[in-house]
Symmetry: C2
Subunit: 313 residues, 2 copies
């Protein structure tokens, strides 16, 4: 049951929406990483396989961050070893440093992602580095990955607001983004890590990237729903030509203790929008909802996705 049965699908009149959107599914990595109780590797593998079966073509599978920092993903090698890779599906992994790259290479990965901060304070707090020096840290990682024929994605955090610094200027974000492209990233994902952005700011930042020669075809957006803005921001980005959107099946992620965690944009809510707009995703919403409902049961609490609650609640 989807928007086609209940509503009237209608491509937006003249807004130049992309014909097809690639959903970069972050649930298995970004969604699960903050879960306190360890999810068995078999459950993670079934989750990945069901997401691929539902038609998702990019599944961020795990992370090679130190198990000390993210115990939930300490099973990265075991997971990748057990993974049945479906044809046409990419399984990128997050890599923080050269040690992580070596592990990713050993595991046979072909896609990695590195993550930088757009602000000084978050570079210090999250990476124990500085806004400037973080790029030196990633230089050998990106170079090594490229040399091995891997695709490298860059994540940029705090692109709109920072809890310590407040609003973040467009130029600062564009400069940080340019440095990730210079390192060899093929795509840059702009993260609203604390979920404060609104639609006008999204358009403003994308325009600033455009003015610097970086078009929407090289950019992705990664919105959090902390203030309920994730989908409206996504719509604004689509209208600027962005055609890769990060989201998390069932809205996994955010604070695992909240009644209704408000973290990542839920993939189901995104698919509802895109189905309604007539934008192709290749995703079967019913299968995706069933998968997220199944995962919510494994985790022992309801999904924060509106669509999951409406269709499977």
């Amino acid at each position: 049951m989807g928007v086609r049965e209940l509503g009237l699908p209608q491509r937006a009149a003249s807004e130049g929406l992309p014909a097809r959107v690639t959903i970069w599914e972050v649930g298995p990595r970004d969604g699960l990483q903050n879960e306190k109780s360890i999810v068995p590797v078999e459950v993670k593998l079934e989750f990945l396989d069901r997401l691929a079966a539902a038609g998702l073509t990019v599944l961020e599978a795990t992370s090679f961050v130190s198990p000390k920092w993210v115990p939930q993903l300490a099973d990265a090698e075991q997971l990748l070893d057990g993974l049945t890779r479906r044809p046409g599906v990419r399984y990128p992994v997050l890599v923080p440093n050269e040690r992580g790259l070596a592990r990713a290479l050993d595991a046979g990965c072909t896609d990695i992602a590195i993550f930088a901060s757009a602000t000084e304070t978050f570079a210090q707090r999250n990476l124990n580095s500085t806004l400037d020096k973080q790029f030196d840290m990633f230089t050998p990682v990106a170079a090594g990955a490229r040399q091995a024929g891997m695709d490298v994605r860059g994540y940029l955090s705090m692109c709109f607001g920072d809890p310590w610094e407040g609003p973040v200027g467009y130029e600062q974000v564009v400069t940080a983004g340019q440095r990730l492209f210079e390192l060899g990233c093929s795509q840059l994902s702009l993260g609203d890590t604390i979920g404060v952005a609104t639609a006008g700011q999204v358009e403003g930042l994308l325009a600033a990237f455009g003015a610097a020669g970086i078009g929407p075809e090289r950019l992705a957006v990664h919105f959090h729903d902390t203030y309920g803005q994730a989908l409206a921001n996504t719509l604004a980005a689509l209208r600027c030509g962005v055609s890769t959107v990060d989201s998390s099946a069932g809205g996994l992620g955010g604070c695992p203790y909240a009644e209704s965690a408000t973290g990542n944009l839920a993939t189901e809510d995104l698919v509802w929008l895109l189905d309604g707009l007539g934008v192709e995703t290749g995703v079967n919403l019913d299968e995706l909802v069933a998968t997220s409902a199944w995962m919510a049961e494994r985790l022992g609490r309801p999904s924060p996705s509106r669509v999951v609650n409406a269709l499977a609640g």
Copy 2:
């Protein structure tokens, strides 16, 4: 604490957003009407007064529907009698029939709203009438109200999808809307009663009204967040020139038994968007959040508003 401290307010480049939006606050009526445990009239009065103090200028106060159908609002007379009307604030009430109009007149109301259905099935089920005959029912109500110098708003339900009929065609909605204007309504609120609409459909319907000579200045939108689309749909409507938006403080409404009810668009999430876009509302977000947090305590469960949870959770 609002978007101005945490993010970068930015009026959307060239999108012709309205400079000011009137929020039609439906929490006290639409939000509370499905609450099973009766909220004391003193609490409702404090709620209304705090909403007005927070800067809201249109507060749908109660309904003169039969207490048999909506026991929660059986105290309509008592509430209106106890209400301290603030200057510059309107307190419309819902009126289903001539009996309701007489009660509204006795209570000294100056603004009423009537409610029709855009579909046959819902006209039968909600009004025990037909798509055609419902307008006859409202004719004397609207005429009597106008004669008494009242302002009459028309609500139209199921403007996008209907649970029994599926997608609803634009022409059908425009025709029903025209009939409400012919009855003497000054404004028409387009309701997505089951929350299935997506942004392209919103633009399509507003364009269809425009083609029939009914511009966005005479229209309001009323979105439900059942599938997470309410704010994205609102953004689409704003870009079409709509400048009256219905919402419910704290997201009150919807199913009172769900962990996180997904009913009306939360006023706080709307204000966050509008503040970020630089669109004036006159609302103080901090006071509004405090009011909704207080009301959530009275009702004994968390607010479904993302903003309320983030700032007061």
